[in-house]
């Protein structure tokens, strides 16, 4: 089940990463190396074992906490500015991105 060039291209596209042909090849080799490491998991007999998402879930009941439905006030333009201070491109409080064609 080795990782092919196509696999690398697919993963890179899904992850929004740009790879040059050289980088692609290097990535392919690295990923195949990593794959042989993680493939050890395949050999483990996990029949009857449930996946564990929260590490303490076997130790005590872990349930999602719910918060009451109260809203914070609408932000002032100044407060919005503080939250958007790191924005690369904005126009009147809107984030700007190159136009998406639907």
């Amino acid at each position: 089940m080795a990782i092919t060039e196509k696999d690398v291209a697919r993963i890179a596209r899904l992850a929004r990463i740009e790879l040059s042909p050289d980088e692609s090849t290097r990535a392919q080799n690295e990923l195949n190396g990593i794959l042989s490491l993680i493939q050890q998991l395949q050999a483990v007999d996990t029949t009857g074992i449930e996946p564990m998402a929260h590490p303490l879930s076997a130790h005590q009941d872990i349930a999602l906490r719910l918060r009451p439905d109260t809203a914070s006030p609408t932000r002032t333009l100044q407060e919005r500015q503080a939250l958007m201070a790191n924005t690369p491109a904005e126009d009147n409080g809107l984030f700007l991105v190159p136009t998406v064609i639907e």
């Binding site: 998402a53 809203a71 932000r75 991105v97 190159p98 639907e102």
Partner: protein
Amino acid sequence: MEWEIVIGLETHAQLSTESKIFSDSSTRFGAAPNTQANEVDMALPGSLPVLNKGAVERAIQFGLAVGAHIAPRSIFARKNYFYPDLPKNYQISQFEIPVVQGGTISFFVGDQEKTVNLTRAHLEEDAGKSLHEDFTGPRGESSTGIDLNRAGTPLLEIVSEPEMRSAAEAVAYARALHGLVVWLGICDGNMQEGSFRCDANVSVRPKGQAELGTRSEIKNVNSFRFLERAILYEARRQIELIEDGGKVVQETRLYDSDRDETRSMRSKEDAHDYRYFPDPDLPPLIIAPDWIQRVRDAMPELPAARRARFETELGLSGYDAAQLTMARAGSDYFEQVAALLPEGQAKLAANWVLGELSAALNRDEIDIGESPVRPAALAALIARIIDGTISNKMARDVFTAMWTGESNGDPDAIIEARGLKQISDSVAIGAMIDEVLAANPAIIEEFRAGKQKAFNSLVGQVMKAAKGKANPQQVNDLLKEKLG
């Protein structure tokens, strides 16, 4: 070749909570861009989601209303894809284990009742909005503006089984679902504002074939009319395509209302490997039986139950009962009117609510909540018809006067002021009839000769003499008596 159209609907209903599903930002519509988006909504580094109890409560209400199973344990999952209006570039949704499982929606198509099964309903967060007005980016490039006020609004995604067989059925289902969520108060149903959005999965197959055809998904239709047109177009497009030897491609399409056609969205290969996995920031949602019971105890009477009650207890027709249980406000209004009238007069109340009142509301483009004529006033007016003070015809004029606030909207005052009291005095009516009979011997002859029209003509003349104010029933009865 006879074709069968197969339709399933996925509906996104924005839940009517005060705050968002995973942050405490307000959900109120119409705020300035990005003033209702905090660090969680903007996905700033280090931000984390916290679930809103109100969203879960509304999901439970929905599940109970449709007779579904409420999952005691459900899981939030990340749906990973990149899009600028999706700040984390993943949407927190539910995948393998949704909060609501199964359920049914019943509705009428014409006079046929149909029941559609629901697959599931799950909670998820809404994305932000892209504004495609022409903005200019930092390098002079044509740009889109992103407003994250809507990002994080709680959605209930309701998925039906593909059991609808016509555009009309699909629309009837959508209307019934819309009516239900609004009735429950869990969604405001404002389709222009995007509170209720339908995606239609449409496929066709030769009649009799068991296998489903390839389906296409028409996304984000925001009116019932467009939904119907979109489905009709798409079904026809697929049929023509297949008949011409082509194959339907599984894809997402948008409905263009200007051109009345569906158009393929630009699709990318494997754009849809969402890599769902349980969100490690959110432990399982546990809903205990006592919470479900509390919600059940607090549920309002559901439309279906009330409809049945109107039919059996109030003697309304199936049609009237259905009409009067489409919207809670109107239904409550009607029920209040009927309660103030003597027993057995529900039909009259129904006629007035569905007739005059409805027409006035439509004409003035207002909701029943804004009606200047409140239930007690309408009931008082109808009472005057029942007790013979005025005729039904006169009552319409009184209603119009009440609507405009004449005499403070008090029907008795209006009747008094305009002198509309019906003449019910049999002596007075008798006298008028005698006069008319005396003046129309020829018509009497025609009546004796068997012409019913002659009777009506005489009635008409009496009413004219009474300036419309004679009690028609009494005129009829007395005239019959006098003619022998």
